[in-house]
Amino acid sequence: MTTAPSKKCQALFKSAWHSNRLAATGAAVLLVLAAVAVLAPWLAPYDPLAVNLPEALLAPSPAHWLGTDQLGRDVLSRLIFGSRISLLIGFIAVGVAVVVGTVVGLLAGYAGGRLDAILMRVVDTMLAFPSIFLLLAVIAILEPNIYNIMAVIGLTSWMGVARLVRAEILSLKEREFVLAARALGASPLRLMARHLLPNAMGPVLVAATLGVGGAILTESVLSYLGLGVQPPTPSWGNILNEGRVALGVAWWLTLSPGLCILVTVLAFNLLGEGIRDGLARR
Protein backbone atom coordinates (compact mmCIF):
# COMPACT_ATOMS: atom_id res chain seq x y z
CA MET A 1 0.00 0.00 0.00
CA THR A 2 3.02 2.29 0.23
CA THR A 3 4.19 2.03 -3.37
CA ALA A 4 3.74 4.96 -5.66
CA PRO A 5 1.19 3.48 -8.10
CA SER A 6 -1.21 2.46 -5.33
CA LYS A 7 -1.04 5.96 -3.89
CA LYS A 8 -1.89 7.29 -7.30
CA CYS A 9 -4.78 4.82 -7.38
CA GLN A 10 -5.99 6.04 -4.03
CA ALA A 11 -5.82 9.64 -5.13
CA LEU A 12 -7.76 8.78 -8.28
CA PHE A 13 -10.40 6.98 -6.30
CA LYS A 14 -10.64 9.83 -3.82
CA SER A 15 -11.23 12.41 -6.51
CA ALA A 16 -13.79 10.15 -8.16
CA TRP A 17 -15.48 9.63 -4.82
CA HIS A 18 -15.78 13.36 -4.22
CA SER A 19 -17.10 14.19 -7.66
CA ASN A 20 -19.69 11.41 -7.79
CA ARG A 21 -20.20 9.00 -4.94
CA LEU A 22 -22.81 6.83 -6.64
CA ALA A 23 -20.72 6.32 -9.76
CA ALA A 24 -17.62 5.53 -7.71
CA THR A 25 -19.63 2.97 -5.73
CA GLY A 26 -20.79 1.43 -9.00
CA ALA A 27 -17.23 1.23 -10.30
CA ALA A 28 -16.02 -0.35 -7.05
CA VAL A 29 -18.77 -2.96 -7.14
CA LEU A 30 -17.88 -3.80 -10.74
CA LEU A 31 -14.19 -4.17 -9.88
CA VAL A 32 -15.05 -6.62 -7.10
CA LEU A 33 -17.35 -8.46 -9.46
CA ALA A 34 -14.70 -8.70 -12.15
CA ALA A 35 -12.27 -10.08 -9.57
CA VAL A 36 -14.85 -12.67 -8.50
CA ALA A 37 -15.40 -13.74 -12.11
CA VAL A 38 -11.67 -14.07 -12.81
CA LEU A 39 -10.88 -15.86 -9.53
CA ALA A 40 -13.99 -18.06 -9.59
CA PRO A 41 -12.18 -21.44 -9.39
CA TRP A 42 -10.29 -20.29 -6.28
CA LEU A 43 -13.19 -18.51 -4.59
CA ALA A 44 -15.96 -21.05 -5.06
CA PRO A 45 -16.18 -23.36 -2.03
CA TYR A 46 -17.63 -26.26 -4.07
CA ASP A 47 -17.67 -27.55 -7.63
CA PRO A 48 -20.62 -25.69 -9.22
CA LEU A 49 -21.61 -28.78 -11.22
CA ALA A 50 -21.18 -31.41 -8.48
CA VAL A 51 -24.52 -33.12 -7.94
CA ASN A 52 -25.13 -34.27 -4.37
CA LEU A 53 -28.70 -35.51 -4.08
CA PRO A 54 -28.73 -36.28 -0.31
CA GLU A 55 -28.01 -32.58 0.31
CA ALA A 56 -30.70 -31.21 -2.04
CA LEU A 57 -32.63 -28.04 -1.16
CA LEU A 58 -30.72 -27.27 2.04
CA ALA A 59 -31.47 -23.88 3.56
CA PRO A 60 -28.56 -21.41 3.93
CA SER A 61 -26.14 -22.62 6.62
CA PRO A 62 -22.45 -22.24 7.53
CA ALA A 63 -21.60 -25.16 5.22
CA HIS A 64 -23.60 -23.76 2.30
CA TRP A 65 -23.89 -19.99 2.77
CA LEU A 66 -26.64 -19.63 0.20
CA GLY A 67 -28.10 -23.14 0.49
CA THR A 68 -28.27 -25.83 -2.20
CA ASP A 69 -30.55 -26.46 -5.18
CA GLN A 70 -32.71 -29.45 -6.20
CA LEU A 71 -29.65 -31.42 -7.20
CA GLY A 72 -27.72 -30.57 -4.05
CA ARG A 73 -25.37 -28.18 -5.86
CA ASP A 74 -23.95 -25.30 -3.81
CA VAL A 75 -25.78 -22.10 -4.83
CA LEU A 76 -22.93 -19.75 -3.86
CA SER A 77 -20.48 -21.65 -6.06
CA ARG A 78 -22.95 -21.60 -8.93
CA LEU A 79 -23.48 -17.86 -8.55
CA ILE A 80 -19.71 -17.26 -8.50
CA PHE A 81 -19.25 -19.19 -11.72
CA GLY A 82 -22.44 -17.70 -13.14
CA SER A 83 -20.89 -14.22 -12.85
CA ARG A 84 -18.45 -15.27 -15.58
CA ILE A 85 -21.18 -16.13 -18.06
CA SER A 86 -23.33 -13.11 -17.25
CA LEU A 87 -20.48 -10.60 -17.49
CA LEU A 88 -19.07 -12.23 -20.60
CA ILE A 89 -22.41 -12.10 -22.38
CA GLY A 90 -22.94 -8.52 -21.25
CA PHE A 91 -19.58 -7.30 -22.53
CA ILE A 92 -19.42 -9.23 -25.80
CA ALA A 93 -23.02 -8.42 -26.73
CA VAL A 94 -22.39 -4.73 -26.13
CA GLY A 95 -19.10 -5.00 -28.03
CA VAL A 96 -21.00 -6.32 -31.05
CA ALA A 97 -23.61 -3.58 -30.69
CA VAL A 98 -20.99 -0.83 -30.38
CA VAL A 99 -19.01 -2.01 -33.41
CA VAL A 100 -22.06 -2.37 -35.66
CA GLY A 101 -23.67 0.82 -34.37
CA THR A 102 -20.49 2.86 -34.73
CA VAL A 103 -19.85 1.70 -38.30
CA VAL A 104 -23.44 2.37 -39.35
CA GLY A 105 -23.58 5.75 -37.58
CA LEU A 106 -20.21 6.82 -38.95
CA LEU A 107 -21.09 5.90 -42.53
CA ALA A 108 -24.52 7.51 -42.33
CA GLY A 109 -23.25 10.68 -40.70
CA TYR A 110 -20.19 11.09 -42.90
CA ALA A 111 -21.63 10.12 -46.26
CA GLY A 112 -25.03 11.75 -45.78
CA GLY A 113 -27.43 11.79 -48.71
CA ARG A 114 -28.93 8.56 -49.97
CA LEU A 115 -26.76 6.19 -47.93
CA ASP A 116 -27.73 8.09 -44.79
CA ALA A 117 -31.43 7.83 -45.68
CA ILE A 118 -31.21 4.10 -46.33
CA LEU A 119 -29.22 3.31 -43.19
CA MET A 120 -31.56 5.36 -41.01
CA ARG A 121 -34.59 3.55 -42.44
CA VAL A 122 -32.88 0.29 -41.48
CA VAL A 123 -32.42 1.67 -37.95
CA ASP A 124 -36.09 2.69 -37.80
CA THR A 125 -37.11 -0.77 -38.98
CA MET A 126 -35.00 -2.56 -36.39
CA LEU A 127 -36.30 -0.24 -33.67
CA ALA A 128 -39.87 -1.09 -34.58
CA PHE A 129 -39.51 -4.71 -33.49
CA PRO A 130 -40.15 -5.26 -29.80
CA SER A 131 -36.70 -6.71 -29.20
CA ILE A 132 -37.83 -9.64 -27.08
CA PHE A 133 -39.94 -10.92 -30.00
CA LEU A 134 -37.05 -10.88 -32.42
CA LEU A 135 -34.66 -12.32 -29.81
CA LEU A 136 -36.89 -15.24 -28.89
CA ALA A 137 -37.88 -15.99 -32.48
CA VAL A 138 -34.29 -16.02 -33.77
CA ILE A 139 -32.74 -17.85 -30.83
CA ALA A 140 -35.41 -20.54 -30.95
CA ILE A 141 -34.45 -21.14 -34.58
CA LEU A 142 -30.68 -20.99 -34.07
CA GLU A 143 -30.78 -23.02 -30.87
CA PRO A 144 -29.62 -21.32 -27.68
CA ASN A 145 -25.93 -21.38 -26.87
CA ILE A 146 -23.86 -18.56 -25.48
CA TYR A 147 -22.37 -17.50 -28.84
CA ASN A 148 -25.77 -17.18 -30.48
CA ILE A 149 -27.10 -15.32 -27.45
CA MET A 150 -24.24 -12.81 -27.48
CA ALA A 151 -24.55 -12.29 -31.23
CA VAL A 152 -28.32 -11.93 -31.27
CA ILE A 153 -28.46 -9.58 -28.27
CA GLY A 154 -25.74 -7.48 -29.91
CA LEU A 155 -27.40 -7.47 -33.32
CA THR A 156 -30.75 -6.34 -31.87
CA SER A 157 -29.36 -3.50 -29.76
CA TRP A 158 -26.97 -1.49 -31.96
CA MET A 159 -29.52 1.06 -33.19
CA GLY A 160 -29.18 3.45 -30.28
CA VAL A 161 -25.40 3.62 -30.75
CA ALA A 162 -25.84 4.20 -34.49
CA ARG A 163 -28.12 7.18 -33.86
CA LEU A 164 -25.76 8.64 -31.25
CA VAL A 165 -22.69 8.34 -33.46
CA ARG A 166 -24.51 9.76 -36.48
CA ALA A 167 -25.68 12.79 -34.52
CA GLU A 168 -22.18 13.41 -33.18
CA ILE A 169 -20.58 13.04 -36.61
CA LEU A 170 -23.11 15.40 -38.18
CA SER A 171 -22.14 18.17 -35.78
CA LEU A 172 -18.41 17.38 -35.73
CA LYS A 173 -18.24 17.33 -39.53
CA GLU A 174 -18.76 21.09 -39.71
CA ARG A 175 -16.38 21.98 -36.89
CA GLU A 176 -13.31 24.00 -37.74
CA PHE A 177 -10.66 21.46 -36.82
CA VAL A 178 -12.29 18.93 -39.14
CA LEU A 179 -12.60 21.45 -41.95
CA ALA A 180 -8.98 22.39 -41.38
CA ALA A 181 -7.86 18.77 -41.56
CA ARG A 182 -9.84 18.33 -44.75
CA ALA A 183 -8.35 21.48 -46.25
CA LEU A 184 -4.92 20.10 -45.48
CA GLY A 185 -5.81 17.14 -47.66
CA ALA A 186 -6.59 14.45 -45.11
CA SER A 187 -8.21 11.43 -46.73
CA PRO A 188 -11.80 10.50 -45.71
CA LEU A 189 -10.48 7.43 -43.88
CA ARG A 190 -8.01 9.52 -41.92
CA LEU A 191 -10.68 12.11 -41.17
CA MET A 192 -12.99 9.46 -39.81
CA ALA A 193 -10.41 7.50 -37.85
CA ARG A 194 -8.31 10.37 -36.46
CA HIS A 195 -10.65 13.32 -36.13
CA LEU A 196 -14.28 12.29 -36.13
CA LEU A 197 -14.47 8.98 -34.29
CA PRO A 198 -12.30 9.79 -31.26
CA ASN A 199 -14.37 12.90 -30.61
CA ALA A 200 -17.68 11.07 -31.01
CA MET A 201 -16.98 8.29 -28.52
CA GLY A 202 -18.07 10.04 -25.29
CA PRO A 203 -21.81 9.39 -25.60
CA VAL A 204 -21.04 5.91 -26.94
CA LEU A 205 -19.14 5.11 -23.75
CA VAL A 206 -22.18 6.09 -21.71
CA ALA A 207 -24.52 4.05 -23.91
CA ALA A 208 -22.16 1.06 -23.77
CA THR A 209 -21.93 1.14 -19.97
CA LEU A 210 -25.70 1.28 -19.62
CA GLY A 211 -25.93 -1.31 -22.39
CA VAL A 212 -23.90 -3.94 -20.51
CA GLY A 213 -26.45 -3.79 -17.69
CA GLY A 214 -29.25 -4.06 -20.25
CA ALA A 215 -27.63 -7.05 -21.96
CA ILE A 216 -27.21 -8.85 -18.61
CA LEU A 217 -30.91 -8.27 -17.93
CA THR A 218 -31.80 -9.58 -21.39
CA GLU A 219 -29.68 -12.69 -20.86
CA SER A 220 -31.44 -13.34 -17.58
CA VAL A 221 -34.85 -13.05 -19.24
CA LEU A 222 -33.82 -15.41 -22.04
CA SER A 223 -32.36 -17.92 -19.60
CA TYR A 224 -35.40 -17.64 -17.40
CA LEU A 225 -37.59 -18.47 -20.41
CA GLY A 226 -35.41 -21.49 -21.13
CA LEU A 227 -33.91 -19.98 -24.30
CA GLY A 228 -30.71 -18.67 -22.74
CA VAL A 229 -27.62 -20.37 -21.44
CA GLN A 230 -28.42 -24.08 -21.21
CA PRO A 231 -27.94 -26.10 -18.01
CA PRO A 232 -25.82 -27.41 -16.42
CA THR A 233 -23.63 -24.31 -17.18
CA PRO A 234 -24.66 -21.85 -14.48
CA SER A 235 -25.80 -18.36 -15.46
CA TRP A 236 -27.70 -16.10 -13.09
CA GLY A 237 -30.76 -16.35 -15.31
CA ASN A 238 -30.90 -20.13 -15.47
CA ILE A 239 -30.23 -20.50 -11.74
CA LEU A 240 -33.37 -18.37 -11.33
CA ASN A 241 -35.19 -20.55 -13.81
CA GLU A 242 -34.27 -23.73 -11.95
CA GLY A 243 -35.20 -22.11 -8.64
CA ARG A 244 -38.67 -21.19 -9.89
CA VAL A 245 -39.88 -24.78 -9.61
CA ALA A 246 -39.02 -24.84 -5.91
CA LEU A 247 -40.27 -21.32 -5.23
CA GLY A 248 -42.60 -22.40 -2.42
CA VAL A 249 -40.07 -24.45 -0.48
CA ALA A 250 -36.68 -22.90 -1.30
CA TRP A 251 -36.90 -19.12 -1.62
CA TRP A 252 -33.10 -18.75 -1.50
CA LEU A 253 -32.85 -20.24 -4.98
CA THR A 254 -34.84 -17.29 -6.31
CA LEU A 255 -33.65 -14.50 -4.06
CA SER A 256 -29.87 -14.74 -4.44
CA PRO A 257 -29.43 -14.85 -8.24
CA GLY A 258 -31.94 -12.02 -8.64
CA LEU A 259 -29.99 -9.93 -6.15
CA CYS A 260 -26.78 -10.63 -8.10
CA ILE A 261 -28.43 -9.37 -11.30
CA LEU A 262 -29.94 -6.36 -9.51
CA VAL A 263 -26.65 -5.29 -7.92
CA THR A 264 -24.65 -5.76 -11.12
CA VAL A 265 -27.09 -3.94 -13.37
CA LEU A 266 -27.46 -1.21 -10.76
CA ALA A 267 -23.67 -0.78 -10.67
CA PHE A 268 -23.50 -0.44 -14.47
CA ASN A 269 -26.38 2.06 -14.44
CA LEU A 270 -24.80 4.17 -11.69
CA LEU A 271 -21.44 4.16 -13.45
CA GLY A 272 -23.05 5.03 -16.78
CA GLU A 273 -25.01 7.93 -15.30
CA GLY A 274 -21.83 9.08 -13.56
CA ILE A 275 -19.86 9.11 -16.81
CA ARG A 276 -22.72 11.00 -18.47
CA ASP A 277 -22.63 13.64 -15.72
CA GLY A 278 -18.84 13.83 -15.97
CA LEU A 279 -18.95 14.37 -19.73
CA ALA A 280 -21.70 16.97 -19.42
CA ARG A 281 -19.69 18.93 -16.88
CA ARG A 282 -16.59 19.02 -19.05
Binding site: R121, V122, D124, T125, M126, L127, A128, F129, P130, S131, I132, F133, L134, L136, A137, V138, A140, I141, G213, L217, S220, V221, Y224, L225, G226, L227, L240, R244, L247, G248, W251, T254, L255, P257, G258, I261, L262, V265, L266, N269, L270
Partner: protein, 326 residues
Amino acid sequence: MTGYLLRRLAGLVPVLLGITLISFSVMKLAPGEPTDASLQFNPKASLEARERMEKLLGLDQPLHRQYLRWLGRVARMDFDRSFRDGRLVTEHVLERLPVTVTINVAALFLVFGIAVPLGVFAAVRPGGAFDRLTTVLVFIGYSAPGFWLALLAIAWFGVTLHWFPVSGLHSIDAETMGLLRRGLDVAWHLILPVGVMTFVGLAGLSRYARSGMMEVLRQDYIRTARAKGLPERRVLFRHGLGNALLPIITILGLSLPDLIAGSVVMETVFSIPGMGRLFYDAVMARDQNVVMALVTIGALLTLLGNLLADLAYAYADPRIRVGSAR
Protein backbone atom coordinates in the same frame (compact mmCIF):
# COMPACT_ATOMS: atom_id res chain seq x y z
CA MET B 1 -51.22 19.41 -40.04
CA THR B 2 -52.48 17.34 -42.97
CA GLY B 3 -49.22 17.85 -44.80
CA TYR B 4 -47.28 16.76 -41.76
CA LEU B 5 -49.46 13.68 -41.37
CA LEU B 6 -49.05 12.72 -45.01
CA ARG B 7 -45.28 13.14 -44.89
CA ARG B 8 -45.08 11.06 -41.73
CA LEU B 9 -47.20 8.32 -43.31
CA ALA B 10 -45.10 8.30 -46.48
CA GLY B 11 -41.98 7.92 -44.33
CA LEU B 12 -43.48 4.78 -42.83
CA VAL B 13 -43.70 2.89 -46.13
CA PRO B 14 -40.04 1.82 -46.34
CA VAL B 15 -40.08 0.88 -42.67
CA LEU B 16 -43.19 -1.24 -43.18
CA LEU B 17 -41.52 -3.02 -46.09
CA GLY B 18 -38.40 -3.51 -43.98
CA ILE B 19 -40.42 -5.05 -41.17
CA THR B 20 -42.10 -7.56 -43.48
CA LEU B 21 -38.78 -8.33 -45.17
CA ILE B 22 -37.08 -9.12 -41.84
CA SER B 23 -40.05 -11.14 -40.61
CA PHE B 24 -40.07 -13.14 -43.84
CA SER B 25 -36.32 -13.76 -43.68
CA VAL B 26 -36.54 -15.02 -40.12
CA MET B 27 -39.36 -17.34 -41.16
CA LYS B 28 -37.26 -18.70 -44.04
CA LEU B 29 -34.25 -19.04 -41.76
CA ALA B 30 -36.09 -21.65 -39.76
CA PRO B 31 -35.00 -25.17 -40.59
CA GLY B 32 -37.61 -27.45 -42.09
CA GLU B 33 -40.52 -26.65 -44.33
CA PRO B 34 -44.12 -26.05 -43.32
CA THR B 35 -44.94 -29.30 -45.13
CA ASP B 36 -42.90 -31.25 -42.56
CA ALA B 37 -45.40 -30.60 -39.82
CA SER B 38 -48.23 -32.32 -41.63
CA LEU B 39 -46.25 -34.91 -43.57
CA GLN B 40 -43.24 -36.07 -41.60
CA PHE B 41 -45.17 -38.33 -39.24
CA ASN B 42 -47.15 -39.82 -42.07
CA PRO B 43 -45.27 -42.79 -43.51
CA LYS B 44 -47.73 -43.05 -46.39
CA ALA B 45 -46.90 -39.58 -47.68
CA SER B 46 -45.03 -40.12 -50.91
CA LEU B 47 -42.60 -37.78 -52.61
CA GLU B 48 -45.32 -36.82 -55.09
CA ALA B 49 -47.68 -35.96 -52.26
CA ARG B 50 -45.06 -33.70 -50.79
CA GLU B 51 -44.48 -32.00 -54.13
CA ARG B 52 -48.23 -31.49 -54.59
CA MET B 53 -48.40 -29.95 -51.15
CA GLU B 54 -45.45 -27.67 -51.85
CA LYS B 55 -47.09 -26.54 -55.05
CA LEU B 56 -50.32 -25.89 -53.17
CA LEU B 57 -48.51 -23.73 -50.61
CA GLY B 58 -46.45 -22.00 -53.29
CA LEU B 59 -43.17 -23.33 -51.92
CA ASP B 60 -41.94 -24.30 -55.42
CA GLN B 61 -41.84 -20.63 -56.39
CA PRO B 62 -38.67 -18.53 -56.20
CA LEU B 63 -38.13 -16.68 -52.92
CA HIS B 64 -39.12 -13.21 -54.10
CA ARG B 65 -42.43 -14.58 -55.43
CA GLN B 66 -43.05 -16.28 -52.11
CA TYR B 67 -42.30 -13.02 -50.31
CA LEU B 68 -44.69 -11.01 -52.47
CA ARG B 69 -47.38 -13.62 -52.00
CA TRP B 70 -46.88 -13.57 -48.21
CA LEU B 71 -46.87 -9.76 -48.25
CA GLY B 72 -50.20 -9.76 -50.06
CA ARG B 73 -51.70 -11.96 -47.39
CA VAL B 74 -50.23 -9.91 -44.54
CA ALA B 75 -51.74 -6.76 -46.07
CA ARG B 76 -55.12 -8.46 -45.62
CA MET B 77 -54.13 -9.51 -42.07
CA ASP B 78 -54.18 -13.14 -43.15
CA PHE B 79 -51.42 -15.04 -41.37
CA ASP B 80 -52.51 -18.53 -42.40
CA ARG B 81 -53.03 -21.31 -39.89
CA SER B 82 -51.24 -22.42 -36.76
CA PHE B 83 -49.12 -25.55 -37.33
CA ARG B 84 -50.19 -26.92 -33.99
CA ASP B 85 -53.97 -27.05 -34.21
CA GLY B 86 -54.75 -25.87 -37.73
CA ARG B 87 -56.83 -22.91 -36.54
CA LEU B 88 -56.44 -19.53 -38.17
CA VAL B 89 -53.67 -17.46 -36.57
CA THR B 90 -55.91 -14.39 -36.46
CA GLU B 91 -58.45 -16.39 -34.43
CA HIS B 92 -55.75 -17.23 -31.90
CA VAL B 93 -54.65 -13.61 -31.69
CA LEU B 94 -58.13 -12.14 -31.36
CA GLU B 95 -58.93 -14.64 -28.62
CA ARG B 96 -55.88 -13.61 -26.58
CA LEU B 97 -55.91 -9.89 -27.28
CA PRO B 98 -58.51 -8.71 -24.71
CA VAL B 99 -56.61 -10.14 -21.74
CA THR B 100 -53.32 -8.52 -22.72
CA VAL B 101 -54.95 -5.19 -23.53
CA THR B 102 -56.83 -5.18 -20.21
CA ILE B 103 -53.68 -5.83 -18.21
CA ASN B 104 -51.60 -3.26 -20.06
CA VAL B 105 -54.23 -0.54 -19.96
CA ALA B 106 -54.74 -1.09 -16.23
CA ALA B 107 -51.00 -1.01 -15.58
CA LEU B 108 -50.59 2.05 -17.79
CA PHE B 109 -53.25 4.03 -15.91
CA LEU B 110 -51.67 3.13 -12.59
CA VAL B 111 -48.16 3.95 -13.79
CA PHE B 112 -49.30 7.29 -15.10
CA GLY B 113 -51.37 8.11 -12.03
CA ILE B 114 -48.50 7.33 -9.66
CA ALA B 115 -45.39 8.28 -11.64
CA VAL B 116 -46.44 11.82 -12.56
CA PRO B 117 -47.13 13.02 -8.98
CA LEU B 118 -43.94 11.25 -7.86
CA GLY B 119 -41.93 13.08 -10.49
CA VAL B 120 -43.57 16.43 -9.69
CA PHE B 121 -42.90 16.22 -5.98
CA ALA B 122 -39.33 15.05 -6.59
CA ALA B 123 -38.76 18.00 -8.93
CA VAL B 124 -40.04 20.58 -6.45
CA ARG B 125 -37.06 20.03 -4.20
CA PRO B 126 -34.26 18.31 -6.16
CA GLY B 127 -31.80 16.65 -3.82
CA GLY B 128 -34.32 16.66 -0.98
CA ALA B 129 -35.26 13.60 1.03
CA PHE B 130 -38.25 12.74 -1.17
CA ASP B 131 -36.21 13.15 -4.36
CA ARG B 132 -33.46 10.90 -3.02
CA LEU B 133 -35.92 8.22 -1.93
CA THR B 134 -37.65 8.13 -5.31
CA THR B 135 -34.29 8.17 -7.11
CA VAL B 136 -33.24 5.04 -5.23
CA LEU B 137 -36.55 3.34 -6.04
CA VAL B 138 -36.25 4.36 -9.68
CA PHE B 139 -32.76 2.91 -10.01
CA ILE B 140 -33.90 -0.34 -8.42
CA GLY B 141 -36.92 -0.48 -10.71
CA TYR B 142 -34.59 0.07 -13.69
CA SER B 143 -32.08 -2.54 -12.64
CA ALA B 144 -34.17 -5.39 -11.24
CA PRO B 145 -35.38 -8.08 -13.64
CA GLY B 146 -39.18 -7.74 -13.80
CA PHE B 147 -39.72 -11.49 -13.75
CA TRP B 148 -37.67 -11.74 -10.57
CA LEU B 149 -39.81 -9.11 -8.82
CA ALA B 150 -42.83 -11.10 -10.03
CA LEU B 151 -41.41 -14.32 -8.56
CA LEU B 152 -40.72 -12.60 -5.25
CA ALA B 153 -44.27 -11.22 -5.22
CA ILE B 154 -45.61 -14.72 -5.87
CA ALA B 155 -43.45 -16.21 -3.12
CA TRP B 156 -44.36 -13.57 -0.56
CA PHE B 157 -47.95 -12.49 -1.25
CA GLY B 158 -49.10 -15.74 -2.81
CA VAL B 159 -47.30 -18.64 -1.19
CA THR B 160 -46.39 -17.28 2.23
CA LEU B 161 -49.24 -14.90 3.03
CA HIS B 162 -51.94 -16.48 0.81
CA TRP B 163 -53.30 -13.02 0.02
CA PHE B 164 -53.57 -13.37 -3.74
CA PRO B 165 -53.81 -16.21 -6.25
CA VAL B 166 -50.51 -16.78 -8.04
CA SER B 167 -51.43 -17.94 -11.54
CA GLY B 168 -54.09 -18.03 -14.20
CA LEU B 169 -57.17 -15.85 -14.47
CA HIS B 170 -59.93 -17.89 -12.81
CA SER B 171 -60.50 -19.78 -9.60
CA ILE B 172 -61.32 -23.47 -9.93
CA ASP B 173 -64.98 -22.86 -9.17
CA ALA B 174 -65.29 -19.93 -11.60
CA GLU B 175 -67.86 -21.84 -13.67
CA THR B 176 -70.38 -21.78 -10.84
CA MET B 177 -70.06 -18.03 -10.22
CA GLY B 178 -72.40 -15.31 -11.39
CA LEU B 179 -71.17 -12.77 -13.91
CA LEU B 180 -70.27 -10.15 -11.31
CA ARG B 181 -68.40 -12.54 -9.04
CA ARG B 182 -66.59 -13.90 -12.05
CA GLY B 183 -65.43 -10.42 -13.01
CA LEU B 184 -64.25 -9.79 -9.46
CA ASP B 185 -62.50 -13.15 -9.53
CA VAL B 186 -60.54 -12.14 -12.64
CA ALA B 187 -59.67 -8.76 -11.10
CA TRP B 188 -58.51 -10.62 -7.99
CA HIS B 189 -56.19 -12.73 -10.13
CA LEU B 190 -54.83 -9.68 -11.91
CA ILE B 191 -53.75 -7.75 -8.81
CA LEU B 192 -50.27 -9.29 -8.58
CA PRO B 193 -49.33 -9.13 -12.28
CA VAL B 194 -50.68 -5.60 -12.72
CA GLY B 195 -49.01 -4.53 -9.48
CA VAL B 196 -45.61 -5.81 -10.56
CA MET B 197 -45.93 -4.33 -14.06
CA THR B 198 -46.85 -0.99 -12.50
CA PHE B 199 -43.81 -0.99 -10.25
CA VAL B 200 -41.52 -1.83 -13.15
CA GLY B 201 -43.08 0.87 -15.34
CA LEU B 202 -42.89 3.56 -12.66
CA ALA B 203 -39.12 3.90 -12.93
CA GLY B 204 -38.88 5.31 -16.42
CA LEU B 205 -41.93 7.53 -16.41
CA SER B 206 -41.33 9.16 -13.03
CA ARG B 207 -37.81 10.00 -14.16
CA TYR B 208 -39.16 11.68 -17.29
CA ALA B 209 -41.81 13.49 -15.25
CA ARG B 210 -39.13 14.71 -12.85
CA SER B 211 -36.75 16.05 -15.48
CA GLY B 212 -39.60 17.57 -17.51
CA MET B 213 -40.97 19.28 -14.45
CA MET B 214 -37.55 20.58 -13.39
CA GLU B 215 -37.09 22.04 -16.84
CA VAL B 216 -40.46 23.82 -16.67
CA LEU B 217 -39.99 25.09 -13.11
CA ARG B 218 -36.89 26.94 -14.26
CA GLN B 219 -38.90 29.06 -16.71
CA ASP B 220 -39.70 32.71 -16.24
CA TYR B 221 -43.46 32.28 -16.29
CA ILE B 222 -43.24 30.08 -13.20
CA ARG B 223 -41.36 32.84 -11.39
CA THR B 224 -44.03 35.27 -12.60
CA ALA B 225 -46.81 33.03 -11.34
CA ARG B 226 -45.13 32.78 -7.95
CA ALA B 227 -44.36 36.50 -7.86
CA LYS B 228 -47.95 37.47 -8.41
CA GLY B 229 -48.82 35.42 -5.36
CA LEU B 230 -50.61 32.40 -6.78
CA PRO B 231 -50.92 29.52 -4.32
CA GLU B 232 -48.05 27.04 -4.78
CA ARG B 233 -50.44 24.24 -5.66
CA ARG B 234 -51.80 26.24 -8.58
CA VAL B 235 -48.30 27.16 -9.75
CA LEU B 236 -47.18 23.53 -9.70
CA PHE B 237 -50.17 21.79 -11.18
CA ARG B 238 -51.62 24.35 -13.52
CA HIS B 239 -48.66 26.36 -14.78
CA GLY B 240 -46.02 23.73 -14.19
CA LEU B 241 -47.53 20.32 -14.84
CA GLY B 242 -49.76 21.63 -17.62
CA ASN B 243 -46.66 22.36 -19.67
CA ALA B 244 -44.55 19.44 -18.48
CA LEU B 245 -47.23 16.87 -19.23
CA LEU B 246 -47.00 17.04 -23.00
CA PRO B 247 -43.62 15.36 -23.46
CA ILE B 248 -44.69 12.79 -20.86
CA ILE B 249 -47.76 11.88 -22.87
CA THR B 250 -45.67 11.18 -25.94
CA ILE B 251 -43.58 8.81 -23.82
CA LEU B 252 -46.69 6.68 -23.50
CA GLY B 253 -46.76 6.10 -27.24
CA LEU B 254 -43.07 5.23 -27.22
CA SER B 255 -43.45 2.77 -24.35
CA LEU B 256 -45.59 0.39 -26.41
CA PRO B 257 -42.75 -2.03 -27.28
CA ASP B 258 -41.78 -2.25 -23.61
CA LEU B 259 -45.36 -3.10 -22.73
CA ILE B 260 -45.46 -5.85 -25.36
CA ALA B 261 -42.13 -7.23 -24.19
CA GLY B 262 -43.29 -7.05 -20.58
CA SER B 263 -46.38 -9.04 -21.49
CA VAL B 264 -44.32 -11.94 -22.78
CA VAL B 265 -42.45 -12.22 -19.49
CA MET B 266 -45.29 -11.43 -17.06
CA GLU B 267 -47.85 -13.64 -18.76
CA THR B 268 -45.36 -16.49 -18.71
CA VAL B 269 -44.55 -16.01 -15.02
CA PHE B 270 -48.21 -15.73 -13.98
CA SER B 271 -49.57 -18.26 -16.55
CA ILE B 272 -52.00 -15.73 -17.99
CA PRO B 273 -53.45 -16.76 -21.36
CA GLY B 274 -52.68 -13.54 -23.28
CA MET B 275 -50.75 -12.61 -26.41
CA GLY B 276 -47.38 -12.78 -24.65
CA ARG B 277 -48.02 -16.31 -23.48
CA LEU B 278 -49.28 -17.22 -26.95
CA PHE B 279 -46.01 -15.95 -28.40
CA TYR B 280 -43.89 -17.86 -25.90
CA ASP B 281 -45.78 -21.10 -26.46
CA ALA B 282 -45.53 -20.65 -30.24
CA VAL B 283 -41.77 -20.05 -30.03
CA MET B 284 -41.27 -23.14 -27.91
CA ALA B 285 -43.40 -25.27 -30.28
CA ARG B 286 -41.67 -23.77 -33.39
CA ASP B 287 -45.08 -22.69 -34.63
CA GLN B 288 -43.63 -20.33 -37.26
CA ASN B 289 -46.88 -18.86 -38.59
CA VAL B 290 -47.98 -17.73 -35.15
CA VAL B 291 -44.49 -16.47 -34.27
CA MET B 292 -44.18 -14.40 -37.44
CA ALA B 293 -47.70 -13.05 -37.16
CA LEU B 294 -47.00 -11.80 -33.65
CA VAL B 295 -43.56 -10.39 -34.56
CA THR B 296 -45.12 -8.49 -37.46
CA ILE B 297 -48.12 -7.29 -35.44
CA GLY B 298 -45.83 -6.24 -32.58
CA ALA B 299 -43.71 -4.15 -34.94
CA LEU B 300 -46.80 -2.60 -36.55
CA LEU B 301 -48.19 -1.66 -33.13
CA THR B 302 -44.86 -0.08 -32.23
CA LEU B 303 -44.92 2.03 -35.39
CA LEU B 304 -48.48 3.04 -34.64
CA GLY B 305 -47.47 4.06 -31.11
CA ASN B 306 -44.59 6.18 -32.42
CA LEU B 307 -46.86 7.79 -34.99
CA LEU B 308 -49.51 8.63 -32.40
CA ALA B 309 -46.85 10.06 -30.09
CA ASP B 310 -45.50 12.27 -32.88
CA LEU B 311 -48.96 13.40 -33.91
CA ALA B 312 -49.96 14.21 -30.35
CA TYR B 313 -46.82 16.25 -30.00
CA ALA B 314 -47.29 18.03 -33.30
CA TYR B 315 -50.93 18.71 -32.53
CA ALA B 316 -50.13 20.29 -29.18
CA ASP B 317 -46.92 22.12 -30.05
CA PRO B 318 -47.56 25.01 -32.43
CA ARG B 319 -43.89 25.24 -33.37
CA ILE B 320 -44.04 21.87 -35.12
CA ARG B 321 -47.47 22.50 -36.62
CA VAL B 322 -46.50 25.86 -38.09
CA GLY B 323 -43.10 24.59 -39.16
CA SER B 324 -44.70 21.84 -41.23
CA ALA B 325 -47.11 24.21 -42.94
CA ARG B 326 -44.28 25.83 -44.86
